[in-house]
């Protein structure tokens, strides 16, 4: 790992200022992705801006029709939250499947969403639920946030402070994980709302995406059988050492059915 300066601001504006004033600086939340990246020298920032001393970025609040999860809330806390378990059990289940127990204690929802790894779990939950990404300057709808491989709508000095999730009627997540990394080879999040169904896929392509034909079919009939015959086009899907594109396409339908099953159970 190359050496870097380390800043621990206690105010969000100070963190944003550091981020813009120091060229090649990076934010660090739980560090579960960034630290391995630094160790492999895939990134060598001159300074890290640590978000752990900022107040009010941890915790989960019930706003009635939505629940808001602070950006620095670790996965283990979301997974164990009685509030999330009762209002969006599919989201608590998703958080419980990320990495392993030690990783879930450090890794944060804000870090995962900001990083937008194409095989990360949270982007599927955020897009599937149509959540709002609350930042230091605005709130961004999930549909406009994820822009493909590790890219998001965040401005260079913008910091995620919370994610606001609409409470669905039902929601579920199913994941076929790569056994070594525990990332999603394919993960599918499905959410049923009064006005329709949203379904988001992670792991299969260069970024999280929705599947409109499945959403339409599930809006008519929220049952795994409704989507059993819907095939996904392999165009744009990932082929790598872990799986070919046609296998990933096959898994999308399987995982989507399992996600609906999970939502119904």
């Amino acid at each position: 790992m190359k050496l870097f300066a380390y800043h621990q601001p206690d105010q969000i504006p100070d963190a944003a200022k550091l981020l813009t004033s120091i060229e090649d600086s990076k934010l660090v939340a739980g560090g579960m992705t960034l630290i391995p990246t630094l160790k492999q020298r895939l990134a060598s920032p001159v300074a890290l801006v640590d978000l752990s001393k900022l107040g009010n970025l941890k915790g989960i609040t019930d706003d009635g029709a939505t629940i808001t999860i602070g950006a620095m809330t670790p996965h283990a806390v979301v997974a164990a939250s009685k509030l999330v378990q009762s209002k969006i059990p599919g989201l608590a289940a998703l958080a419980s499947m990320i990495g392993d127990p030690a990783v879930r204690r450090r890794g944060t929802i804000g870090g995962s969403v900001a990083n937008n790894d194409p095989a990360a779990d949270y982007p599927a939950g955020v897009l599937g639920l149509g959540a709002g990404i609350v930042t230091s300057t605005r709130e961004i709808a999930a549909d406009k946030f994820f822009l493909g491989l590790f890219e998001t709508a965040l401005e260079p000095s913008e910091i995620i402070t919370a994610i606001r999730f609409p409470v669905p009627l039902k929601a579920g997540y199913a994941k076929f994980k790569a056994p070594a990394s525990r990332y999603a080879l394919v993960g599918v999040f499905v959410a049923k709302f009064a006005d329709g169904v949203r379904l988001a896929v992670t792991g299969a392509g260069s970024g999280v995406f929705r599947v409109p034909p499945m959403e339409a079919a599930l809006s008519q009939n929220f049952d795994p059988s409704a989507i059993a015959a819907i095939k996904i086009d392999t165009d744009g899907l990932t082929s790598d050492i872990h799986a070919e594109a046609d296998y990933r396409a096959h898994l999308v339908t399987i995982m989507a059915k399992r996600a609906v099953d999970a939502a119904l159970s």
């Binding site: 300066a5 630290i35 392993d100 450090r106």
Partner: protein, 161 residues
């Protein structure tokens, strides 16, 4: 930068580069070599330590995170009557052959102690799920799981005394 923390019950202050990993700090600067570095990619769990009571992977933790915190390493585990005695979980691993080469054992023990502390009525399924981030390449896990169950029971018994 200078950081101060409690290490195995003792106040500790060290000068570190912010780019120092906690596993490196422990092994190379503080000469506590019980914490092992196996994969160095936060998968194997040989480096697990307790940060403020919670098991984390010290190969994927920057030293500044220790400032003001309480850290427990494998060297800090001890029996109920003193530091020259094995912790009930260590005793259970010895009794039930929960190790072969022993490389993963420090991390297994730290994770196991945390599991048993968090949930005193551990089931075998809890243990297998809880050990997901700890890899052993010798034992096939069977004896490790047996050891953790026995160690958890021994910890409960010790608490009741």
């Amino acid at each position: 930068m200078q950081i101060s923390f409690t290490l195995n019950g003792r106040p500790t202050t060290v000068d570190v580069e912010p780019a120092t990993l906690v596993a490196e700090l422990l092994r190379e600067q503080l000469h506590l070599t019980g914490t092992h570095i196996g994969c160095d990619t936060s998968q194997c769990g040989a480096c697990v330590v307790h940060l403020d009571g919670l098991p984390v992977k010290s190969c994927t933790l920057l030293a500044p995170a220790l400032d003001g915190a309480t850290l427990l390493t494998i060297e800090g585990l001890q029996g109920t009557s003193g530091s020259n005695q094995l912790h009930p979980m260590q005793e259970a691993f010895r009794e039930h052959h929960g190790l072969q080469c022993g490389f993963c054992t420090p991390g297994m023990l730290m994770t196991a102690v945390a599991l048993a502390t968090e949930k005193p009525d551990l089931t075998e399924a809890d243990v297998r799920h809880g050990l997901e981030g700890n890899i052993c390449r010798c034992t096939g896990y069977q004896n490790i799981v047996v050891s953790v169950m026995a160690g958890a029971a021994a910890m409960n018994a010790a608490k009741g005394e």
